[in-house]
Every structure is written in C-alpha cells, then in structure tokens.
Symmetry: C2
Subunit: 388 residues, 2 copies
Amino acid sequence: MQNFVFHNPTRIVFGRDKTASIGKATLPYGRRVLLLTGQGSVVKHGILAKVTSSLSTAGISWVECSGVQPNPVLGFVRQAIDTFRRENLDAIVAVGGGSVIDTAKAVAAGVRYEGDVWDFFTGKANVLDAAPITVVLTLPAAASEMNSGGVITNEQTRQKFNLGGEPLSPKVSILDPVNSFSAPVNHSLYGVVDAMVHLLEGYFNGSDPWTPLQDRYAEGIIRTLMECAAIIREQPDHYDARANIMWGATLAFNGLAPCGIGPAGFPMHMIEHSLSALYDVSHGAGLAMILPGWLKYHSDSSPRKVNQFGRRIFELDHQDDRQGAQAAIAELERWLRSMDIPASLHEGGIPIDEIPAIAENAVMLAQKWGLKAYTQAVIEDVLRRASR
Amino acid sequence: MQNFVFHNPTRIVFGRDKTASIGKATLPYGRRVLLLTGQGSVVKHGILAKVTSSLSTAGISWVECSGVQPNPVLGFVRQAIDTFRRENLDAIVAVGGGSVIDTAKAVAAGVRYEGDVWDFFTGKANVLDAAPITVVLTLPAAASEMNSGGVITNEQTRQKFNLGGEPLSPKVSILDPVNSFSAPVNHSLYGVVDAMVHLLEGYFNGSDPWTPLQDRYAEGIIRTLMECAAIIREQPDHYDARANIMWGATLAFNGLAPCGIGPAGFPMHMIEHSLSALYDVSHGAGLAMILPGWLKYHSDSSPRKVNQFGRRIFELDHQDDRQGAQAAIAELERWLRSMDIPASLHEGGIPIDEIPAIAENAVMLAQKWGLKAYTQAVIEDVLRRASR
C-alpha cells in the first residue's frame, strides 16, 4: 500500500424526492445564487421547477445561466464568471451532470481569482479559494458531485484540460435517482462506462503491485454497474438499478478508489479527451471506443491483471494470463456491443485515417499529465488497436 | 436502495512514517492539547516519543492523560474532562486504538457541555459541539478514527453505551501501519474480527432486500481482512498486510458501508457489549464468540444471505440456502479457530450457566437500540447457540 491523503468533505443527500431539499442545503452558503443548467432537459423533465421552488421556499434568489453543453467550453465559463460578478452572487447551484458541475467548479474558482481562469487548467495557478457549490445531480458518470476536479474544453486551442483543488468540492450534492430516469438510455449507459473506466484506470495503472482491497472495491462497483446497466436498458425507470448506478458512479471517482495504489496515470481518459475535443463524441462513448483497444495494448506488458479482471468480472477461468486477458477483452467487447455501446473507433464513427491527428492532440495531454510512455507512436498504436 | 445522508469530513493521512506529521495536523486546532493514551504500549514502542517530538516541533504543548483501558470507562472520561477544563486546553490528540479515540470523543463532547457527560449516552442530550480531535491510530478495529461515534462503559451501572454526533468526527487521523506492528497478534486478529462484524451487521441486518453494491463492498473488505489476517499471524511485521487491515478496518465502519441499506440493527454488537461489560473480554474476541451462534440463529429465518456469504467469501457452491448457510458457518468457525480466535463462549472462557444474566444485561441495550425482536428469550437462544 502506498501512502495517501484522503479528504472528502462533500455531504451526500441521497434518495427519492430529495431534490426538494436543495434550498435548505444551499442556504448556509448564500441567499443569491447562480443557477447553472445544461441544454434544457432539466426544464423538460420538471427538475428545474422543483429546484426553483425549493430555492424560493428557502428565501434564495437566483440568476439562471443555462446552456452548458456536453463537453463544456471555456467561453461559457467566462460568461458565467462575468454574470456571477456583475450580479454579486454568493454561491452556485449546479443542476445537471458532470458537464454542468465541472462548469460550476471552473466558475467557482474563476470568480475568486484576479487572473484568467484558464490559468488553473494550464498549471499557471492553483485553486486556493472558490465560491461554494451545491449540486442536484441528473446524469451519473463523472462523480464531479463528490470530487474536487473538473474538465473544460478550450474551444479556441482545442485543448480539453482539467482543473482541481480542495475548495472545489461541492458542499452538498443531492443524488435523487428519479432525476436520472429522464436521460436517454444510451447516454445513461455511456455514463456507466465512464464510471467503469474511472475505476479501471487505477485498477490497471496503479503503481503498487499488490492492492487486494482496492481491486475488490473496483470489481464490486464494476459488476454492479454492469448488472444495473442491463436492467435500465430494459426498464429505464427501474429505481433501484438507477440508484445503484448513481451511487456506484459516485463511489467510482470520489477519491477512495485510488487510495493506496500509488501514482496512476489516466491514459484512456487522456486519449479520449482528444477524441471528444476533436469530434462530437460523448465522453463515455469515447471511452468505450478506446477501452478494448487500450486493454489489448496493456495486455502485451501486463496480462496478469487483465486475466484477474476476466476472472472476477466475467467469471472466466484461465490459467494462462495471456489467454485469460484475451478472453476477458473479448467478453468486454461482447458486453459493450450487447448494450449498443460502441466498442471501437469504427463503431463510434471516428475516421480511422485521422488517427495521427488524434494522437497528436493526445500527446499534448500526455505531457501535461506526465504520461511519458505515451509518445505519438504509442498512442497511435493504441488507437489502431481500438480502430475495429 | 434506501435514502441516506453521508458526510465524513475526517482527513486521513495514511502511510509509513506519517506519525511525525501529527503536530502540523493538530496546529490549526490549538496550541495546548490533551494528549490521551492507553496502557503504556505507545510508550514502550516509541510511538509516543514520535508524537511528542512532532507536537514540540509544531510549538504545541500538551497535558498527558494516560491509562485508558481496553473497554474504556466513564470514570476516566470524567477525570479527563476535569483536566481539560482545569488546564484550559484547546484540543485532544488521541494516540491509540478505538478505546482511546472513543474516550477522546466523550471528553470532547463533555468539555463543551454544562451537564453530565453520561447524558449523551442515555439520550438525554445530543452532541451539538465538541472540542477538536486529532488521532494517531495504533490498533485498527473500531474505525473510530473515521467516524462520529464511540462506546464507553459506565462501571457503576455496568452499562456499555454509545454516543454519537457529527462534531465528534476527528479532524485528522494519521494511519501509519507501522504503529500497528507492536500490537500482540491475537489482539490484532480480534481487531480484524471487529471490523468484519461491523460489515456483517449491515450485510445481514439491512432492511433493503437488494443491495448489490453494498454487499460487494462488504465482501471485498472481508475477504481482504481475512487474507491479511492469515499473513500477519505468520509475519506480524508484514507492512502491506498491516496496511490493508488498517485501511480495511477504517473503510468497514466509516459510514459508507450502510449507505442505502436502510435501518439495520447491531444485534451482535448489542450482545457482545454485555459480554465485555460483565467479563474481561476484548471486544473483537467477544464478537467472535457470538458471530457463529448468531449466524445459526439468523439462518433459521434468512438462510439466503448466509449462503451468499459462503459463496462469495469461501467460494462454496450450494444450491440449497439452508445447506449453504450451514456450510458457510462451519467454514467461518474453522477459519476463526485456525487463527486461534475463540469461536464460541466456551472457547472464550465465558461461564455458560451465566447466559441468563448476560442476556438480561443485553436486553437493556436492545431496548435502547430499538431491537425489539431481541427479547430475553431470543438473546438467550442466540447465546446458547453460541455456547460451543
């Protein structure tokens, strides 16, 4: 076990009809808030009405800032910072999934900083202070509702970069599984993949060779996510399956999973970020396209853990690690396809002949994230293995 | 999934040589502290010297209050409250296992309350405020280092009662696995059983019938604890096994495991509390004596989950739930005995003919904890099944 620090002060209020408690949850942090939402589904499904009614009851006024897009962009962040400052607001209420919450984090950091908010993404500045954030989660995937990081795309430079810092942890996040019923099923399934890959990055890339506790933690969540994904595909309104996905996705990336595994890169996320910076791809779908190909690449050097994955997730039973790894990847591809999730670049509609350009974009992030092994050639190799 | 609120603000600093950071970790909470320790093993093994050196370096002065006993008592708590007040201290540094940390919590609540500290245990008062606590953990078991509860025995009334409240969460807990090397191996193993039973109480007593995420969370930690227990029995200084036990025991009872399982009683703890209130029994050993007997009782009404436990922990494969449950309990007994842990009252040296008196004491707690099904007759039944 490697040394670590764990601290996660976010209060989780989980359950049916809990959306109505957002006003009370937000009140300790201010009476005038920026109400941040996405592309309108929260209006259509009545979630926003519940939120504003709860804010009103608590005596909180708001300035709405809607239109966060799925891969949220810097331009929107800058506008929201201006609005927050102009209206002299106290706090941010984010109603949505990872894109809305990540936007809230960038705004929260930006309004307490004199310089350019992009400085936090390029490493020019650290987040030392932030406006308080409360959350009503809709789409489980990113776990942004219970961690201190976020990802924003700079639409001018085509860089999808991340920021992080303790002050960005939401104060309170409301996880009402009913709010996730309204998401299209394919998007919900992409969210499941995102959560799975959050766990798998650490599972396969941790630097400690013996992590029995962390392995089982990840495996338990992954099995549950897969089990529940199959249920909501048939019954989108299955409360318990939705609830297990919502809580499972949060537990997948709230900082607990990597405790003790030592430094672990995020190579699949790194490569996916360039996919969704360059193409109109949902983050979870992009990860699904990369995952089997990356596992093939990874199995060359480290088949043992991939074999363990096959044994514990798919109940395979191979003595030989290479054979086991191969079988595990085949099972995973089969499962993704059975869920209508693209399991390769081709299935996701990504032009294969642009692999060099995708890799070139990813290399920038590889350098930023310190993934030195991921040269242009290696990333192209991974992408080629992921192509079909 | 049942509704829940989860909030755990304790900062965990985990790893080798982290004891030396206790001064820096404590400084934000005050410059004059009560230094609470147990029966001297922290002196013998040099842990206390590291702590005081770190406090000195940080410019923190301390008043030592040593001698907390394994089942900590109210009399000691009252004395420590007097010392804290007389010396006009700011915070408490607890160096030890659950008994020391639980004592710290009672003292922390008591010093900020005008009335009698026992009021928090009888339910006459709620903990609304508490002095800040920081921790250097020695013996993993109770998870008191990352939760907001504690247990104290009133030696006059022979009641082993608990208190709880958000202000009691330690601010920072230092988990240095090296500090656990010094504990006698049998005590370390009792600690493992305590952690396992924390998980099993929820696993078997949760009120939600379908909890795939929570089941796997518990199973993963239990398997790891058992695996590592076997290692430290042979190699007490095995860092990684000690580390997995330390972090596993914390994760077993830091509030995450029961999220979503709904109301769950703690019948095994309830019965054990009367054992260790009446006899000189280590809490974990007492739980081990109760566990198989309670499982036999529980299997009568709910064999399915006990069969699942056998399947997932011991890799048994029984179609019939009753047969599977029986086999699982037999495996568990075998495992406990293989670790030299008492698996029955008889093995633990408890006089079997005193079962009615033990049950009478436990009934008091059954009423306090709202475990209405646990009448005198039921508790006697469980104890008889646990007798050999």
